[in-house]
Amino acid sequence: MALDPSLSGRTFPPTSPYVVSHEKIAEFTQAIGAVPFENGETAPPTFPIVVAFAAMTALMNDPELGIELHRVVHGDQRFEQSRPIRAGDELVATLTIDTLRAAAGMDMIGTRTEVATTSGEPVVTAYATLVHRAGGDA
């Protein structure tokens, strides 16, 4: 079933504040096999997904939208950063559906997630296209 076109332009409530720890940065850095940065405080360039993923998960779990998680494929991902995420940051992510396009039994959901500190400093914007494949009944 195609998604409701009126969802385009909708902004969802921000995620709960996420406090970035040294330990989480170390865990993520180790998981991708990278060498930690000298200061031990700066997160790798794809780390913002940890915070943005919570906003995307909320979107995919929203019963009003009718997205089925196992039908979702990550189409693309881009980060534009004002600065890297650092240990001690307290971050919230706010997701907006920028574009919604249906083609060949798929919905292409263009999302923009603004990641900012709880005091309002912009840190990084994560753009993702989520591809929702129609179910067998479509």
């Binding site: 998981a31 991708i32 991902q77 881009r78 980060f79």
Partner: protein, 133 residues
Amino acid sequence: MNFEEGQVLEPQTYTVTRTDLVRYAGASGDFNPIHWSDRVATSVGLPGVIAHGMYTLALAGRALTTWLDDPERVVSFGARFTKPVVVPDDDNGVEVEVTGSVSSVDDGIATLTLNVTCGDAKVLGMSKATVRC
């Protein structure tokens, strides 16, 4: 490192095993079973367990920060997920290669074009980064 237009960056090769995917699932919070269960992966038409697209992008980011030395210089970074990286259930895993070059330098910003492959398959498309020189 200072970048010049046309410069070719040192290729980086990374081995990906099932253990890496499990570790990345925990670190990122993405527990989609297609990244750890052959049963689920094959039931949705995949040849087997595949790496998270974001894990592959993270490897490209690892190459990027290896070239840069300094993560503060990254302005933008991203890619399309074009082909899956299928990760076998063995001790050897699979190799992902990241190559890159400087496509332009303009007004203190260098644009890097990355090419990320697994065997013959280009697994990321349109992979680009802009960085401060």
